[in-house]
Every structure is written in C-alpha cells, then in structure tokens.
Symmetry: C2
Subunit: 458 residues, 2 copies
C-alpha cells in the first residue's frame, strides 16, 4: 500500500488536534453494564451513597450510562499537555524482525514519570477532588504505578495524597515508594495502625505483609472517616474507563490523520483501565454499526478472569467493604500464585468490558508469563523500549497475530496498547534472564474455591 512510505515512525498529534472530550462507551451500549450494588442491602447504589466515598462529579460520571461525551476541563487539558499526546508508533523494526506483512502500531503511554497510562485518570480524579474543595484523597497501591500517578497529580494541584501501600511492596520496592515521597505523598505501609481495619488485621495476623484487599479497606476507611477526604481508584470503575478513553481517542485521531484503519485492536486487561480506554472510540463505531473491528483482551493465564471466570455479582475488594459489581470474576478471594511476576492480578474485570465481552463484542485470550517475557525481550531489543510486564501481554498477542499474517499473507493492521515501561520491574526481568521464571495455571479446583466465595445475589 502506498500509505506505507508516508507513515512516520511516530505520530504525534498537534496540541490543537488533541481530544477535548472523553468518550463514554456506555452511551452506545444496547445492554448497559449492571449497576453497582450496596453490599449491605444488595440494592443499586444511589448517588448519595456513592458520594460518601467518591467525589460528587465522579459519582455523576460513574452513574451516567447515557451521555456519550464529557468535556475535559481546561485544567486537565493543560496537565495532559505536559505528557500528552503520547506517540502512536509504527513498529517498523518489529515488523522487519518478524518478517510479517502485517502493519503493527502501538500507542505508547509510558513516557511520563508514573511510567504508565494511570496518570490520565489520576489527574482527573484529583482535579474533581480539588474542585469540590476537598483537602485530599486516599488510595491503595500494590506495585506502585497508580500510587505514583496519583502522587504526581496531587503534587501538581496541591492536594494531600495518602497512599496505603501493601507492606511487602513498601519494603521490597523502595524505589516507587521514594518517587511518591518525592512528589510529597504520605505513603503508609498496610496494614497500619492508622485505621480500625488495619489495627484489627495487625492484631489477628501480627506478622502479615499485607494484601491489596487490606490496603483498599484501609484507604476507604481513611477517606470516609476523615473530614474533607474521598477515596480514588485506578481501574475497574466506569469513570476510569471514561478518563482513559483519551488513549483511544488520540490513537484514532492519529490513525485517521494518516488514513489508517486497524483490523485488530489488542490490549492487556487487569481491571480494564487501559483496554477500556484504548478501544473506546473504535468500540463506539462498532456499537453504532458504523465499522467492525476485532478486539482482543489479553490476560495472564494465572489470573484468567475473562477466559475462565464467571459473569456474576462480586465484591470489588477482598475486604468486602466496596460496592458489588457484576463482572467476569474469579471470586474476590482468588489470589494469583506468588510466582506471578507482572501486574494484572485483579480477580475481576470492569463491568463495562465484562458486558461487552458477554455480548460477544470482544474476544479474550490468556497467555503464560514466560512467553510474555520472551515477547517483552524480543520487543525491547528491536523497538528500544523496555516494556512493563503488563503491557507485554499485549505485545505477545500482537506478535502472535503478526506471525499468523506471515503464514496467511494477510496485510492486517494491528494496533496494541503499550501501557508502560518496566524500569521498576527489573526483579521480574532478572528472574526471566536467569531462567528462574516458571508458569502457573490454576486448576479447576483452584478456581472452584474462588467461585465458592461469590456472594449470593438475585
């Protein structure tokens, strides 16, 4: 195709071409995602109930299944300009190395200090908290990407930022902790003695190194018991997918500018923030019957919520303090094997993506981690970017798809989301480099244990 010769390695939109609105897929969905339920009454959460936990404006976004476009406030647009547009990259070197007729593009979200796309929603959530006149926000973080992103956003706006960091990460991953400190955040190893739930857990399990579920519970308690604080979350929620739509909107604008139409769109999926953002405007066209695309969600074989989970109401957190969401889930008690290196450890999946998947509008595959790190290394060596383990799930499947094209001779255009860099994941790379990484696939019995904990709803 003649287009080939004209496509630069990297496409950057001009400032005036950047999206000024977020796109809400739910507005075009025939089957809307099921509402969040109050964990006590099992009735749909009201705005009033949610406003106890989240900022008012974000509650509106969370509950709005009708409005297709939300204006991005000018302050957020200005912040976006510091690290956006992110480049849409033509993977010429990878194509050459694979000797494939496929055309591979990736939207690279790692060129900011948080190292990932998380910043897109962090600034939005912090902005609405600031606008509401709040003092600060609380959240939890595991490996630290989300906590870092939120710290950056809060530093920019002068908002207090309290991060409950899973204790073992706090101790074993001091670098991300120090990035958060540098951005002025208060980082508390969880469980801590600053909350009731933390004190209770410490009493019951004195030597515990914590869990994400416990950190969520502490962050929610801290937000709801202190004047002027709200809780914020980096994935799963519909509002997060809304903010992350900036990824897909930029990607689509860049592709449209060069008359490129993707055939296959691939993203890694943990809670769904990246995938939901990347596919948003393309899925919109599909939902409105304007165009067709193949969407592939890639998840780790060790935490296969879409490919092996159940579509059911479940708790969003292991502490069971958050609302219930209907989603593909492995059960809130499911914990991926300790040998699992990357992220994407969440037991469930965004309600929006779950509904799209259930409606057959999206596919899902699961991949094993050694194959993911093989793909990551291959990619790093030819494309120059050392990818995050999470992002590398998408790389693995993009390579697989490109190799299929090599066999069939098809010149498919592949777009995948490269969500971030792996600079803080070198312990996992070291394990892989030394041949010490193994794979783990849960047995049906393992999964049954997780399903047994699903709440009875209906």
């Amino acid at each position: 195709m003649a287009e080939n010769t004209k496509i630069p390695y990297k496409i950057y939109l001009e400032e005036n071409e950047m999206p000024k609105q977020w796109y809400n897929m739910r507005a075009d969905m025939k089957n809307k995602p099921a509402p969040l339920l109050n964990p006590g009454t099992l009735q749909p959460m009201t705005a009033e109930e949610l406003e106890h936990v989240f900022c008012d404006e974000l509650v509106k976004q969370e509950l709005d299944d009708e409005t297709a476009y939300f204006d991005i406030p000018q302050e957020i647009l200005d912040f976006y300009k510091m690290y956006r547009p992110s480049p849409l990259v033509r993977a010429y070197c990878l194509e050459k190395a694979l000797d494939t007729p496929a055309k591979i593009y990736y939207k690279f979200e790692g060129n900011n200090t948080s190292g990932s796309h998380k910043l897109n929603s962090a600034i939005a959530q912090a902005y609405y908290a600031k606008k509401q006149g709040l003092k600060g926000v609380t959240t939890e973080t595991g490996a630290g990407q989300w906590g870092t992103a939120l710290s950056m956003a809060c530093a920019y706006l002068g908002l207090d930022c309290n991060v409950y960091m899973v204790k073992c990460s706090y101790e074993q991953k001091p670098f991300r902790r120090e990035v958060m400190h540098t951005y002025g955040a208060n980082v508390t190893p969880s469980p801590s003695d600053t909350t009731n739930v933390g004190r209770q857990i410490l009493k019951e399990f004195p030597g515990t190194t914590g869990s994400l579920g416990c950190a969520i519970s502490e962050a929610v308690e801290a937000a709801t018991t202190r004047e002027g604080y709200r809780y914020v979350l980096g994935s799963v929620l519909s509002q997060v997918l809304l903010h992350q739509s900036v990824i897909g909107l930029e990607a689509k604008a860049a592709m449209d500018k060069y008359h490129i139409t993707p055939d296959v769109i691939i993203g890694c999926a943990g809670g769904g923030s990246n995938l939901g953002g990347l596919i948003a405007p393309f899925m919109g066209e599909k939902l409105r019957g304007e165009k067709d695309y193949q969407f592939i969600a890639v998840e780790p074989a060790s935490c296969p919520s879409l490919t092996r989970g159940k579509y059911a109401y479940d708790f969003c957190d292991t502490g069971k303090v958050c609302p219930l969401a209907k989603m593909y889930t492995l059960g809130s008690g499911f914990i991926p094997s300790a040998n699992h290196a990357g992220g994407l450890r969440y037991h469930g999946m965004s309600s929006v993506l779950s509904q799209l998947y259930d409606d057959g509008l999206m596919e899902a595959v699961s991949v094993e981690q050694t194959s993911v790190f093989e793909a990551a290394t291959r990619f790093a060596r030819v494309e120059g970017i050392l990818p995050a383990p999470e992002s590398s799930h998408a790389i693995k499947v993009a390579i697989d798809e490109a190799l299929k094209c090599k066999e069939t001779g098809e010149e498919k255009t592949i777009l995948f989301g490269l969500t971030g860099t792996g600079y803080f994941d070198m312990v996992a790379y070291e394990k892989f480099n030394n041949g010490e990484m193994t794979d783990y696939i849960p047995t049906d019995e393992d999964l049954e244990k997780g399903f047994a904990g699903l709440p009875k709803v209906d």
Copy 2:
C-alpha cells in the same frame, strides 16, 4: 510577546525536519583543542595508534578539526527515529511556579530506555563498529546509563557488547545491570579475572569493590587483546560531542521554527557529552560571529573541574592506559567524596569544552548537591518529570537565572538540557527525602593532592 500564545507545551520536529548531519564545533574554533598524546611518547596520537583502540571511522571523526558537517548514516537516522526527535518543552508550569517573566525551555533527552542522551553516541559508535565488520565492542560503566545505551545499540545491530561494570554498582544497582542483560550484553563486575589488569588488581586488593578507572583499564585491555573488538567511550571524546550535536541541532531547529532565540543556554557538565551536544550549533554561530549567546556549564561543587581545576595535559583514566588529553582537570587521581550522589564525577572535561572555556566563550558555575535535589524535587512536582541528578544541576541554575529575571524584570529566554530521568537514582532521592544528604566541597589541600599527580608535559 505575541509568540507566547502560540508556543505549544512541547515542540516535536517532523521526521523530515530532523537533522541529517552532525555539526563539529572544532571546525569553527580559532583555537583548536590540543591533540591527544601518546602516554608513552608524549607525542600526538596518530590515526594508526588510535585505530588500535577505536574503530577507523571514529578515529577519523576524532582527529578531524576541519570538517564542519558529517552526514549521519541512514541506519543511524533510522535508529534515531525510534526515540527522536526528543521534545523541546516550554516549562510553562515551572515559569508559573517561579512567577518569573523569563521563558524557560528544556530539551528532554530522557524518553528512551537508556534514560538519557547517551544513546545518541552509543548507536553511532556501535554502527561504525558493525560497518567495520567487528564482532563487538567493550566499554566500562559506573551507574550504568552509558552501558545501558550501548547494550541497546548493540542489540539492535546484532553486535557483541561487553560491559565492565564497577563491582559496587554491579552489586548495589542490580536494576541497570538487568536492563543490560535484557538487551543481551555481557556484564562483568570489575575488577574481574578476565583481564591481566583485573587479575593484578584483585591480587593486590582482594576485597576491592572496583573503580571506574579500573573498569576502563579492563575494557581497553579486552578490546585491544581480542580479535574483532574495539573500545568505546560515552563522553569526553570529540567524536562523542560530534554525535551529541544532534541534541542542539534539533533544539535549534525547533526554536527556529517558532522564531525563538535563547539568551542563556545551560547544561550540566561531567565529561561534557551533553553540554557539548546541546550548545554545538549555537556556539557555532557565536564562533562565526553571527550571534551571541551566554553559555553556562554547571558542575557539582564536589567535583569542580572547570571552576577550580587546572588547564593541563592529564590522563583520561585513573589507570593511565588511555591517551593524555589537555583539559580542565582535577588530576586523574582525584576521587569525589563518597557522599556525592549524582553522576558528573569525572575528574576532567572534554578538550573541546575546555578550550572554549579557556577562550572565555563559555561560563561555568558549581552547585552543591542538596540545592540540586531541592531544584529537582521542585521541578518534578510542577513539570511532572522526575529528573536525573546530573540533569538537575542544569535545572538548579536555570531556576536561579529565572529568579534573577524576576528581580530585574528581564524577559530572558532560557534553554537548558534535561539529559535524563532519575528512575534508577531513587537511593539518592531517598537520602534527600529523609534529610540525610549533605554537601561536600573539597578543600584547596584536597585539590592540591589531585594536581600533584598531573603528568609532566612540555
């Protein structure tokens, strides 16, 4: 000025606007830098002698004081396209935070996996080695930025890469080591038993954790005693400044495009690779009498080669195996205090920059590290990028200059080089965050000890 409203946050050149040639400042210098001397004969190094250590083409570049422009080979241009153009950023948020009438711009070289500008020369040096039909290259690395950059370049070209990494860094900074491993490099803790010099040092000092000087000696021995290998170096050399001119050429093209003329150009200076690259085309105009600019080299107060060193012939390495260069130097035996956190530890300075400084064409200031980390943190919080400690030296002085403008009301345009990110420097940030960082300024007696080791030349 009306320009203000039109300047985007980040200026990216189009692919066809990127420089296709490197610029060699020496061609326009009235007083050429003094030649390298053979450490044995004290006579100028001949091309033949240098070709024993460096690739033929790079020797030509090293010795050429006349040719102003060198074509960048297409393969290198293609590699550059993977991570270049780097953005020229208008620091709107920093300006606002400082409430200064100054206009601040920075050229950000950290958006690649090596985390710094080092990749610009690494790919060039690796390319010429490959072109010469060599099997591989050897080098040394301290903190690991240069080693990482070289590993990436060699992986791309399929060249063997042997990095001698100072043993204490190898053990204490495992992350960069693993990035190099991921790119397929052989990383050897130095001193090692793979070279004569290494074995000798190990015998004399069994428990030593190594030094950069020792690692250089091992890398040079490994290159010169094995068939098909050459040694490469990431700074100081004139060829490196030539390759790094791509930084300044891009910055100038971006500024010219928007009719911006900098008044002050600021860069951190260790061996001079970044500063020499950033100022190159601007200095060219000054040398040719076309325009005037103020250039400021920023060095750490703990390693003040320009501000307190002597302009003399000295060894480039502590092992004294490399050629002698005339430069501002603290003596090859000078070792900055252990409490010095950032890079820029080199005892000397590029001969080109030394000559320019001696001719009064460039200024130099030295700054203390706690003030550097204060500036770094301030910058990170408003501009979103967590800077490398090295780069933060330039940030510190750019802020100082902007604050001077606030006092005088001058609307100066400031350009500084942001050479890289600090993601692998969080130990230093942690020290600063915890209030444990101190400053160190060598006494005159400390410096005299270093000067005492200068070789007798003339």
